[in-house]
């Protein structure tokens, strides 16, 4: 027996299929009988912009001087049909996020930060608040299936209108704002009793399909005197056809949101298993616009997991006109800040992983309607942080563009890029680094 006890033993071995995380989720499901709901976007590892590199200048390409030669960043959105297109100083916009899912202070901070940076911010499900309108120089008004808070006065007060068909975190899905976050004010704006779970429909109530969409866009233009740019936002699922159909329906701007794009609250299984990674969606969308002769005429805004100026530069190099950020903007405001670690621990999580945004207990005061928690977010300071972050991202993108010899961010092109992985090379349709191989397009 003693000899056997000393014999080498097989080391404990975890399954690559039934990982500790997977087993934990099975136990949770077995205990509760309900799927996991959370905020944020896809957390799984996906082919992403980190898998691309810029080549920079060389003998055949010459760079621009970093601190002297101009590299422009401004962008015009809505030049196709709108009488009053939007002019932005930077192509980094703030994505749609609702008052209700976010606190009023957070919405105000987003408006303040965007305005300092010379860019736009966007409303969300639940309508437009006076604070948000007041602090946002350029405000895009989302027109959503639920039409919560939708009224024609706000439509006319907006600078652009975004018809939301879907979002990257849940293409084909609606939403649910749980009763914990439905205060009297939120409920009043949505014409519902306080405290009830508010379902957001996944389909628009008065149109179906691309032909109807064209008629709906026509109505929105009539109501707003053909002044406002009309965006159409889609979750990345069939980007070639969705972009083509949105353009055909008369959109000025197409917003394409990949699966890393965040949500206020959706089933984890939906977030992680439906839709395309942002990287995979851009080239088909750009191709659709090219095929219609509308590239740069109908602008393309891409969102979903954009974190840095490098990401911005890569998205633009692949053919987009602008980007939108949501999760990154919330982090800049103070979301998941380690300063609240004790409270994250008390909620059973940790700073950096907190995603129970639907519960309304956010220690950072952002994804909550709790008056005490909300006070923790100073909208002026938070807005300043967001403006700083936007400035850094813009400077980073300019740095890369100058290194590639471009005098405008829009002059970046796929030729400036290579990929580190075969997957990224195939999705971005650029060569694998060190080769001339573009999977699916050229032979080895």
């Amino acid at each position: 027996m003693a000899e056997n006890a000393k014999a080498p033993r097989t080391a404990p071995r975890y399954s690559a299929t039934f990982t500790p995380e997977v087993m934990s989720e099975i136990r949770r499901a077995a205990a509760t009988g309900i799927y996991d709901i959370r905020g944020a976007g896809a957390k799984r590892k996906l082919p992403h912009f980190d898998d691309l590199l810029f080549l920079g200048a060389s003998i055949s390409r010459y760079p621009l001087e970093g601190y002297r030669e101009r590299c422009s960043t401004e962008v015009i959105l809505g030049s196709r049909f709108a009488k009053k297109p939007i002019h932005l100083k930077t192509p980094i916009t703030i994505a749609g996020m609702s008052f209700g899912s976010l606190s009023a202070n957070a919405k105000e901070a987003l408006g303040r930060g965007a305005t300092i940076a010379g860019t736009s911010t966007t409303t969300g499900d639940g309508g437009m608040t006076p604070e948000e309108r007041g602090h946002s120089k350029t405000l895009v008004y989302q027109y959503l299936p639920s039409r919560y808070g939708m009224n024609p006065d706000d439509l006319r007060r907006a600078d652009a209108i975004e018809v939301v068909i879907g979002q990257g975190a849940k293409p084909g899905g609606g939403g649910m704002l749980l009763g914990q976050k439905i205060t009297e004010r939120v409920a009043g704006m949505r014409c519902l009793p306080a405290g009830v779970d508010q379902r957001s429909a996944c389909r628009h109530p008065d149109w179906t399909g691309p032909d109807d969409l064209e008629i709906k866009i026509g109505e929105l233009r009539e109501v707003t005197e053909w002044e406002k740019p009309i965006y159409v936002k889609v979750g990345a699922s069939r980007p070639y056809y969705d972009t083509a159909l949105a353009a055909k329906a008369g959109a000025d701007v197409v917003v394409l949101d990949g699966m890393q794009g965040g949500t206020a609250a959706t089933q984890d299984v939906f977030i992680e298993h439906v839709g395309l990674p942002t990287l995979a969606a851009i080239r088909p969308a750009v191709q659709a616009l090219r095929d219609l002769g509308l590239h740069r005429k109908v602008q393309l805004i891409v969102s979903g997991g954009i974190r840095s100026g490098a990401d911005v530069a890569k998205v633009l190099a692949l053919g987009a006109d602008a980007v939108a950020i949501g999760t990154g903007a919330l982090i800049a405001l103070g979301d998941n800040d380690p300063r609240w670690e004790d409270e994250y621990q008390a909620l059973g999580t940790t700073a950096g992983a907190y995603d129970d945004w639907h519960e309304g207990k956010d220690p950072a005061g952002i994804t909550t309607q709790d008056p005490e928690l909300m006070k923790r977010l100073d909208p002026e300071l938070a807005g300043r942080r967001l403006a700083n972050y936007l400035a850094v991202m813009t400077l980073e993108a300019q740095t890369i563009a100058r290194a590639c010899g471009k005098s405008h961010l829009h002059n970046l092109e796929p030729e400036d890029l290579v990929a580190l992985t075969i997957e990224a090379a195939a999705m971005a349709q650029v060569p694998l680094a060190g080769t001339s191989w573009v999977p699916g397009q050229t032979g080895l």
Binding site: N151, M176, L192, W207, I215, E219, E222, V223
Partner: protein, 229 residues
């Protein structure tokens, strides 16, 4: 009072002129001829004027209306009076689907029948249909009243919130969480007021109607109710 020939002068010019009207305008009665089924006629009005449309209209006629009284002497396509805030829209003929969708206020009266999804996501409007309504009407209806003198199609009031539904005829089936409720005096009074507003006081007996509303069992998501969706 202005008479506008839509066929010759075009939709944009009509809506531009209607939108330019101030609350104290003297041009309080407009007639639109030859609508020819055009979409978004008189959408986005915001003045206490009357617009009479002599013929059939397409989608979203009187959409997002505020204050105005719009009379359609014909039938209307999808989404008539959608997202109306206030005012009065009267359709002399039939209406297609999603009539009065998401509307916050005002009143929509349909002399004929309404198609599917009548009053979908309604948020405070009063809708009165003298004929019958199609399937999935008052889906996710949040507030307001839907009164039907005829019959209702399948899945009436599915996932209903606080809207009140009054139906005189038969209901093919009720949607999830929609139940028949007791008709008390307060409801008969409310129904009488709506009938009166539609010019039917004394002609229709509120006592002939049944009331339907939310059972409120789906107000908070619970796994035991998953089968109801």
């Amino acid at each position: 009072m202005p008479v506008y020939d839509l066929r010759s002068a075009g939709l944009r010019d009509l809506n531009r002129q209607l939108h330019a009207l101030r609350p104290d305008t003297n041009e309080t009665h407009w007639t639109v001829q030859n609508p020819d089924g055009a979409h978004a006629i008189a959408a986005g009005l915001d003045a206490p004027v009357t617009v009479e449309i002599e013929g059939n209209v397409g989608y979203y006629c009187a959409g997002m209306n505020k204050l105005a009284n719009v009379v359609i002497h014909g039938s209307a396509g999808t989404g008539v009076a959608e997202n109306m805030m206030s005012g009065f829209v009267h359709v002399k003929g039939d209406v297609s689907q999603s009539a009065g969708a998401t509307s916050h206020g005002g009143m929509l009266v349909v002399d004929g029948n309404a198609g599917a999804r009548c009053g979908i996501s309604m948020k405070g409007i009063d809708i009165l249909v003298k004929g019958s309504i199609g399937h999935m009407s008052a889906f996710m209806a949040q507030a307001g009243t839907l009164t039907v003198l005829g019959d209702a199609g399948e899945a009436l009031g599915d996932s209903l919130y606080e809207a009140r539904l009054y139906v005189r005829g038969s209901v093919k089936s009720l949607g999830a969480d929609c139940i028949e409720k007791e008709m008390r005096d307060e409801h008969r009074e409310q129904l009488y007021a709506k009938l009166k507003a539609a010019g039917l006081a004394g002609e229709v007996d509120p006592g002939e109607f049944r009331r339907y509303g939310s059972a409120r069992t789906l107000y908070h998501f619970h796994v035991d109710n998953a089968g109801a969706y």
